[in-house]
Structure formats: structure tokens, C-alpha cells
């Protein structure tokens, strides 16, 4: 049994077990945001399936009527009237007659949206390929990857494989385009340590600004790690943040269709995490990025 099958059973079972109605009445809007509030409030709240079914019936009816009327009508009342009339001397009568017949243009059939749960997986590269691409991107061999997990998911309107694993002290999180097998996003972060117990006291005090490497140095480290020249980086910025008792610099920039994000330890200059994400508007992806440890 595949993980996917188990996931489906779990989702189904807990959804069935959950109370089918919330027992909660959502608040009605107090402020008038749109016009015609009264009719809107009185608007009957039909379930969506009823609306779609009704619309489908109307469309089918129109198609049927239209198909029926598209056939050459024989002795319709209007044509009979035209024959009775003097069509020889009044050529427009026939035109009037022709146009008098109600012509209904058949509406195109409504395309019912495919349920988001339907996945055209036959067109996808597959989990094995996604796994291989992710490992290659990370520069890790399959034997080095611990607890590798792959999941098909929908992100920003497209199907992706989410691949997560740990290798040689780093945590990897990648998104692979399910249709093309291209790497869309690659995150690498130094493996975090187990959380401290509640009895441990937090390290007091804050790092004085003079003890940190500074924003400029943080930017330089990030650019060097990415292999990007300062002049080529767009939107380069560094922000000082406090994270889990440690001061870090978050450095971001874009270059050649890729968005980079680094976390740099403000005291030591160590690169704590690295994220690269393909710019959605740019199909090119630079495979020359360096994912090797920088020790």
C-alpha cells in the first residue's frame, strides 16, 4: 500500500468522523461593503451543487431547443403566414419572416471544474524522478539522504513534488515541478538541534551592534556563497533579526531569474540557511548554484 493510499484513508476517515456541521453561526457583515445589501441578505443560499446542476439543465435545454430550431422548419406558423402574404412583390417579407423565427444560439457547454482532488498523475514525472532530481540538486547521494519524503501537492496553481530530507547535517526542502521535473525551489538549512527543555533558562542579553559582523559583511558573505557579483544582484538587502536567542542577518537578492535568501549568523558570519527559488515569471533556472557545504 502506497503512502498516498494511506493518506487518502486518513483524510477520509477523519473527515467522516468530524462533526458534519460546525454548530457555529458565522456573523453577518455589519458594514455595507457592496450595493444592494437587502436583496443580497435575502438571497437564498443554495448549495453549490444545486446551482451547477440547474445551470447545466438550462444549458442542455438551450442546446436541445437550438438544435431543434436549426433544422429546416416545415410549415411553421410564421412561414405559413409569409406564404399567405404577398412575397412576390415584397422581398423583405421573406427576410422579415426569416428573422422573425426565434433563433437561439446554442451556448457552449459549461465546463465543470475538475475537483482539486483529481490529479492527472499519468502526465507527471513521478516520485522516483522527483526524488532523483532533488538529490542531484542537493549534491547528495541516495545513501546519504535520511528519511527522504516525497509528496505531490498543489502550490500556486501548479502541481509540485515536495521533497524533504536530511543529509550530512543539513535539512533540505525542495519543490519539483510535477510536469517538467524542474527544480522550482530549493532550501537548505543547517540541521537544528533538539529544543531545550523547559527547565533551561534562556540565554540573557542581546548582542551589541558592535559585536556583529555588520550588514555589509553579511551581504558580502551571501553573495560569495551564491557566486553572484554585487553588481549583478537586484534588490540586495540585509535585515538584522533575532531568532531563537541568536542574532542573524537575513540577506535577500535576485539574479538571473532566481531569488536568493540567506541567514547569516551575525556574530560568526556562518551561513545558517540558504534558499533559492526560481522566479515564477522566468523559465530559466541556473543549475550552476553551489549547494556544497561551505566549511
Amino acid at each position: 500500500m502506497r503512502n498516498r493510499d494511506i493518506h487518502k484513508k486518513l483524510r477520509q476517515a477523519f473527515d467522516h468522523a468530524a462533526p458534519q456541521t460546525s454548530g457555529v453561526t458565522p456573523p453577518v457583515a455589519r458594514a455595507a461593503v457592496v450595493r444592494d445589501e437587502a436583496p443580497k441578505a435575502a438571497r437564498p443560499t443554495l448549495p453549490r451543487w444545486a446551482l451547477v446542476s440547474a445551470a447545466a439543465v438550462v444549458v442542455l435545454f438551450c442546446v436541445f431547443v437550438g438544435a431543434h430550431l436549426m433544422r429546416e422548419p416545415e410549415n411553421t406558423p410564421l412561414q405559413a403566414a409569409a406564404k399567405v402574404g404577398d412575397s412576390e412583390t415584397d422581398p423583405t417579407a421573406a427576410v422579415v419572416t426569416a428573422t422573425a423565427s426565434p433563433i437561439i444560439t446554442p451556448e457552449p457547454a459549461i465546463v465543470v471544474a475538475v475537483s482539486s482532488s483529481a490529479t492527472p498523475e499519468l502526465a507527471f514525472v513521478g516520485e522516483d524522478r522527483a526524488r532523483a532530481v532533488a538529490l542531484e540538486q542537493a549534491g547528495a547521494a541516495a545513501e546519504q539522504a535520511e528519511h527522504l519524503a516525497v509528496r505531490l501537492d498543489r502550490e500556486d496553481g501548479r502541481w509540485v513534488y515536495e521533497v524533504e530530507f536530511v543529509a550530512e547535517g543539513y535539512e533540505y526542502d525542495l519543490e519539483i515541478d510535477a510536469e517538467t521535473g524542474k527544480v522550482l525551489k530549493a532550501e537548505k538549512e543547517k540541521q537544528r538541534e533538539k529544543k531545550a527543555s523547559s527547565t533551561d533558562k534562556a540565554t540573557p542579553g542581546q548582542t551589541a551592534a558592535s559585536d556583529t559582523i555588520g550588514a555589509q559583511e553579511a551581504k558580502r558573505i551571501a553573495l560569495e556563497k551564491a557566486g553572484v557579483a554585487a553588481g549583478d544582484a537586484d534588490g540586495l538587502k540585509a535585515e538584522r533579526e533575532k531568532e531563537k536567542g541568536r542574532t542573524v542577518y537575513e540577506v535577500e537578492f535576485r539574479e538571473n531569474g532566481i531569488e536568493y535568501e540567506y541567514k547569516i549568523d551575525a556574530e560568526t558570519g556562518e551561513v545558517l540557511s540558504e534558499e533559492k527559488e526560481r522566479d515564477r515569471d522566468n523559465d530559466r533556472y541556473d543549475h550552476d548554484d553551489d549547494d556544497e557545504d561551505d566549511d
Binding site: L10, A17, A18
Partner: protein, 167 residues
């Protein structure tokens, strides 16, 4: 779901129903795994949605809507567990077995029972947050305050156990 919450904030009742249908399994399942009691889990789930209705935009402070809902679920469950602790141990006979609902199919009951009885609590959380909550493992790691490798390891162990029982 963020869009649904916006519509709900504007007073659209259908939007709330959409949110409820899309999240009830995750919220209830997560509460069930923490409380081990169907009635308590239902109470907590209802409280979660009451609070959501009271302040639909609150999730923005927390990040993703589902993360907000499940964090709220966890906090309410912990409150309830603390209250139980203060009152003393609940009699076991009073606890409703989550899989005892006769309205559920045999398969559903088997799945829920397997999840809650075969898996350790941290394994249940890893599975439920990932499968029902849609969390990535790194998000679960952050949510739980655990290393990614630990979460992944729990998940894989859990899948192995469930596969054995459900196959």
C-alpha cells in the same frame, strides 16, 4: 483558504461553510489525537471555529490559516488537559472511544483506531499535521520545536506501522 477567510469576514456564510468543510477533518483529528476523547475533541473543534468567526483576520498574525487553526486547536487542547489534570484522572468508562461511532464505516473506524492506538503520540502528530493539516515536514518541525530529521523519522515509522495494519 485565505480568500475564503476574507469572504467570511465580509459576512459570506457560504465561505465559512467552505472553510469548515475543508478543515474539519484536520482540526477534529488533531484534537482527537491530543485528547483521546470524541466529546472533548468536538467541544474543542467548535471552540476553534467560534474563535475563528469572532476574528477571521487573526490568522494573519500567525501566518497560514491552517497553521493558525491547528495552533489554536493545540492550545485549547492543552488547556483542557491541564483542567483534567487539576480535577484528577477522568474515569476511563466516561471516555468515549473515538472509533466507537456506529455511523462510521468499518474501514474508517479501523483507520482511526490504528492511528490512535498503534502510533505513539508524536508519531500521530507528525502524520496528522502532514496528511490532514497539509504541513510540510519543516513546518511540523518548527511547529513542534523538533529537528526535521526527528519529524521525518517519526513520520516514516508511523507510515510503516499503518501500512502493516491497514494492508
Amino acid at each position: 483558504m485565505a480568500d475564503c477567510l476574507g469572504r467570511m469576514a465580509a459576512g459570506e456564510a457560504e465561505a465559512f461553510e467552505e472553510i469548515y468543510r475543508g478543515t474539519r477533518g484536520a482540526v477534529y483529528g488533531f484534537a482527537l489525537s491530543l485528547l483521546k476523547n470524541a466529546h472533548d475533541a468536538e467541544d474543542v473543534a467548535q471552540e476553534v471555529y467560534l474563535r475563528l468567526c469572532a476574528d477571521p483576520k487573526r490568522y494573519r498574525e500567525e501566518g497560514k490559516p491552517m497553521a493558525y487553526l491547528l495552533r489554536l486547536t493545540r492550545n485549547l487542547c492543552y488547556d483542557r488537559l491541564r483542567a483534567r489534570q487539576l480535577r484528577g484522572t477522568e474515569p476511563l468508562l466516561e471516555q468515549a472511544a473515538p472509533w466507537a461511532d456506529p455511523a462510521l464505516s468499518q474501514e474508517d473506524r479501523l483507520v482511526i483506531r490504528s492511528c490512535l492506538e498503534e502510533l505513539r503520540e508524536e508519531e500521530q502528530r507528525a502524520v496528522l499535521l502532514h496528511v490532514l493539516g497539509g504541513f510540510r515536514f519543516r513546518e511540523i518541525a518548527a511547529f513542534e520545536g523538533e529537528p526535521l530529521s526527528t519529524v521525518l523519522s517519526r513520520y516514516h515509522r508511523a507510515m510503516k506501522k499503518l501500512r502493516k495494519v491497514l494492508s
